[in-house]
């Protein structure tokens, strides 16, 4: 890796763009992710910007227990995110299915079967501070060994 590239990587890891996708949760985790935007937690002072556009994102927050409507679509959404990228599973649902993983259910957890998951934040729902610290701890590893393909 050239010096320029590693310098670029260090700079880019201080400015993370986040998108979130709900693949079938109860909405509790969505609003906790939204609460991160509030001036109290102030996600932007850490250099994290939430705009929910997969095509510009570095980090994808996956919420929910994977419902049948997302077949193929989650994959194609994951492919639209430019490299380097990571996915973080927020809440119990994408990890195990939580309460919804019972007989007669329609969901198909865990989400790691469908896209690679780098970190998991358990909780039903996790607190905004936990979500924030998870993104912050993953951020340096995203760009660590990234090189532009020739």
């Amino acid at each position: 890796m050239t010096l320029l590239q590693s310098l670029k990587n260090i700079v880019r890891s201080k400015s993370i763009h986040v998108a979130y996708v709900d693949v079938g949760s109860c909405n509790g985790c969505d609003i906790e992710v939204l609460a991160c935007l509030a001036p109290r937690y102030d996600i932007e002072q850490y250099g994290i910007y939430v705009h929910n556009n997969p095509r510009e994102a570095d980090v994808l927050l996956v919420i929910g227990a994977y419902t049948p409507g997302w077949e193929e679509k989650l994959q194609s959404l994951w492919q639209k995110i430019p490299d380097p990228k990571v996915a973080i599973a927020i809440g119990n649902c994408p990890i195990s299915g939580c309460l919804f993983n019972r007989p007669h259910t329609l969901v198909d957890p865990p989400v790691s079967k469908h896209i690679p998951i780098a970190a998991q934040v358990p909780g039903c729902p996790p607190r905004p501070t936990e979500i924030l610290s998870a993104i912050l701890s993953v951020a340096p590893t995203v760009f660590k060994d990234f090189e532009v393909r020739k």
């Binding site: 049948p68 409507g69 193929e72 679509k73 329609l106």
Partner: protein
Amino acid sequence: MTGPLYEKDLTSMKYAILTSRRHDRMVHEIASDLGLPQLRVRRYIMDHFDMLLMENLPARYERGKKDREDSPDPERSLGAHLYTRAVPMISEELMDETVGKVKDMLRHGTPMDQAISSGKKQLREAIVP
């Protein structure tokens, strides 16, 4: 590329909506009212309605049933408001035509039951061609 990007077959998801308890009762009542097999009613709903309208059908049906009780007779028995506005299975023109025909038959001395059943037959033919 010509085809739409995200379109996919929604039949199984639509069927999942129709299996709930409230939908089941509604389909049963509509089928027995019109004299159709339940399967045909389900099929028609799945083919013609979007998913949100399907979710809301039981609420609309209950409201339509209440309004049906208040309307005068040939419309009440045919469910003129119910099947055109609340559960939009039949176009308003066809319903107007059917109600007109039934009223004509009543004027010419046809008994009520017979007139209504011939009106319902016409509605049935519109749903199952």
